[in-house]
């Protein structure tokens, strides 16, 4: 399976859809901060991995797929649901990377400078997420 990147798909996104993600992202970031302030960092930290924009994203993916099919005169309901389901499967694989990010921050912060730990943790997320995806693809191909 080949990974393709196309900036054309960004043209399909409407400004209010970006605005909605901005709003959810900003709100969840503030909520994580306020929860940590009131209940302590141990509770607040849970919300650093809260599925903030997941419901909105899944809904938009389904909507875009439906619109694409409707443009060629077909009913894209089933395809839309399938696309959202596959996206969620990818997100679950990305969560393995998210665990790697959290572990790298947890063990790295007491010993290293903050910018270095942030870069290392981000790389841990990327490597683990992509490796998990590649393993899954190989497993389904065989």
């Amino acid at each position: 399976m080949i990974v393709k990147a196309s900036l054309d798909s960004l043209k399909e996104i409407k400004p209010h859809e970006i605005g909605m993600r901005f709003l959810f992202g900003g709100t969840c970031t503030v909520a994580a901060y306020l929860i940590a302030k009131h209940f302590g960092p141990a509770v607040g930290g849970l919300f650093l991995a809260f599925p903030a924009i997941f419901p909105a994203s899944a809904s938009l993916i389904e909507k875009h797929e439906k619109e694409d099919k409707a443009a060629v005169g077909s009913d894209g309901t089933e395809r839309g649901r399938l696309a959202a389901g596959l996206d969620a499967a990818g997100t679950a694989m990305g969560c393995i990377g998210l665990c790697g990010f959290a572990l790298a921050m947890w063990f790295g912060l007491p010993h290293q400078r903050a910018p270095i730990v942030l870069v290392e943790a981000s790389l841990a997320w990327l490597v683990l997420a992509v490796s998990t995806w590649l393993l899954r693809v190989r497993h389904s191909d065989s």
């Binding site: 992202g25 901060y33 141990a42 942030l118």
Partner: protein, 116 residues
């Protein structure tokens, strides 16, 4: 108030940037990886380290690991339901949200018991 505004703006920019990055890639399973990008953590941990120090941020990161495990369980169940049943994605993702809260808080209470 100023700190809340700064966090809101940084969080909004980082989260929507990762969301847009996910739109660029195909296939869908690969694009989905960006749905679990550490966007809120990247937006907030830098400021937390600056204002509260490394030890405080490390405690947040330890709990974030539990939140990430909960996210994995939640996203896996959402995917399973959407691929097998004819349910609407927004309804499914919202109806299953208690799974994240249940797993995250359950693991947290286990951590508290284990630490005591």
């Amino acid at each position: 108030m100023e700190e809340i505004l700064i966090r809101f703006l940084i969080g909004g920019v980082v989260v929507s940037s990762f969301a847009l990055l996910g739109e660029v890639f195909r296939p869908k399973t690969f694009a989905g990886l960006f749905g679990a990008a550490p966007s809120i953590a990247l937006a907030t941990l830098g400021l937390t380290i600056l204002h509260r120090g490394h030890a405080y941020a490390a405690i947040e990161a330890r709990s974030m690991l539990l939140g990430a495990i909960a996210f994995f369980v939640y996203a896996s169940i959402v995917s399973w339901v959407l691929l097998r049943y004819k349910t609407h994605s927004l309804v499914t993702t919202l109806a299953l949200m208690p799974v994240w809260f249940g797993v995250a808080l359950g693991l947290y209470s286990l951590l508290v018991r284990w630490s005591a």
